[in-house]
Symmetry: C2
Subunit: 320 residues, 2 copies
Amino acid sequence: MAVYTQVADDELAAFLDAYDIGAPVSYKGIAEGVENSNYFLQTERGSFILTLYEKRVDPADLPFFLGLMDHLAARDIACPTPIHARDGEALRTLAGRPAAIISFLQGVSPRRVDIRHCAPLGGALAGMHLAADGFAMARPNALSLAGWRPLFDRCGPRAHEVQNGLAGEIEQELEFLEENWPADLPTGVIHADLFPDNVFFLGDRVSGLIDFYFACNDYFAYDLAICINAWCFEKDGSFNVTKARHMLNAYRAVRPFSAAELAAIPVLLRGGALRFLLTRLHDWLFHPEGALVTPHNPLEYHRKLRFHQGVKRPGELGLE
Amino acid sequence: MAVYTQVADDELAAFLDAYDIGAPVSYKGIAEGVENSNYFLQTERGSFILTLYEKRVDPADLPFFLGLMDHLAARDIACPTPIHARDGEALRTLAGRPAAIISFLQGVSPRRVDIRHCAPLGGALAGMHLAADGFAMARPNALSLAGWRPLFDRCGPRAHEVQNGLAGEIEQELEFLEENWPADLPTGVIHADLFPDNVFFLGDRVSGLIDFYFACNDYFAYDLAICINAWCFEKDGSFNVTKARHMLNAYRAVRPFSAAELAAIPVLLRGGALRFLLTRLHDWLFHPEGALVTPHNPLEYHRKLRFHQGVKRPGELGLE
């Protein structure tokens, strides 16, 4: 949780002059999100989120992210809508940072995932996958198979600081995935980071999908695998097959899920686990002293990876 | 900026069951405030601030703080109103912490104080002093003259870590203040921490005074001195006599300011500077490793103290 860039009231007022949303009546830094600075902003015309993009976001990617939100919101996906200034631009500069105003969404992220969240999440994910069809831009997934080895090259020599033998295990897993990663699954725009804190609920209904700043083009089934990893393990490390089944069944009620996609799920789950193990390991080893954000424990995803290494068929996960 | 205590969505929903404000539709941790955890909370009935009181607040003081806000809000002071639950209680427990919901106030805190802020601030301060009259509870100021020496006893031995010779200077100043601190000035409930980030403006109007968690009984003129120190120095350390004059004149247009109060202002400014020098020095020296909050630089108030040590009469500050 952090606000990296402070915005002065007079800077904000000048920034808002470019928009048609009235003068600010309140803004407060939000202690959420680890990548960017976010403010809850109220103006004379409504409530918004003001985001300043910090160093970890490549400014060249921002038109993709904002364009995707525009595209999805126009197709009634419950996601933030970028607010365009009078000159038509949604991406601007504030306090020396790329910045955008997006619509404010109601809803509450589940801190404890319950079985009742999983079907709505699966349906919302599939709806997003379908709605992204026709979006004109593309962005390769820098954190898929081809991106893992460079990340490992950087973290591997220090992985033993986190756990003895971890580097060797990751090396073996990388070799397995390089040999077994599926080819030719249905592809499109995926969210790629749909953890519970990026999903708002009102009651049992998904009221918002947020934080599209890892969105990219990749296998739809890989997006589902990321969600299964993030939503279907219990705090004690056990895997909840009922949650996974609810999620998959709700997903394929909206978008057909092919036999090839289902067969690939065990490998995709291993890849998804390795991806978050590697990025968390990286942040754990290299986060600066005095950082505002406490890195996630990489070993949570090490445990998930080990679980998936013992799974041969989707049926063992409750998925048929 | 920090949220020390995380509140789960199901905990929050259960907590709100005690109130008549509807179900939560959004809540976000606010990256502001150094003492407590604050959430911006929207329910079906409106917008609120949810505060969880952390370790630095003595729970025994909370009835005073919340009662004072009740008292002031009933007298049309723009301050948060505690929301009482159906059983009449405003002070409750959430996530193991004392907690309260207060009304949400519109407005923006000035990050850069401008001359136009100072008269409205002076008027609002005086209005608060008058409105607090008749409040039935009292709370001694633990951070006035009698409290400074114990604080110094703890910080003094390590003060040289911040600046050579600092302990000796503070000792001399303490002796001066112990001999010269005024007696028998008009007394009442003061805010005691009315820094710019605790004051909201809409345009040139004060729309909110917040954060009453240092409020206590002390000299009204001492509260004004704290404000002068907080609002009337420029970033380069220079003192802006016009700001101070605007503040005082607006203050006394609302509440009479006696000749004795005016004469005491130079000593009160020294005391107010020493108070924040000592508490910031303490937090600087003793803040835990990895704390979420970066302590304020104590030397800002050392410079202010040195400035005031050279002032003999209020006229030198533009105050007549």
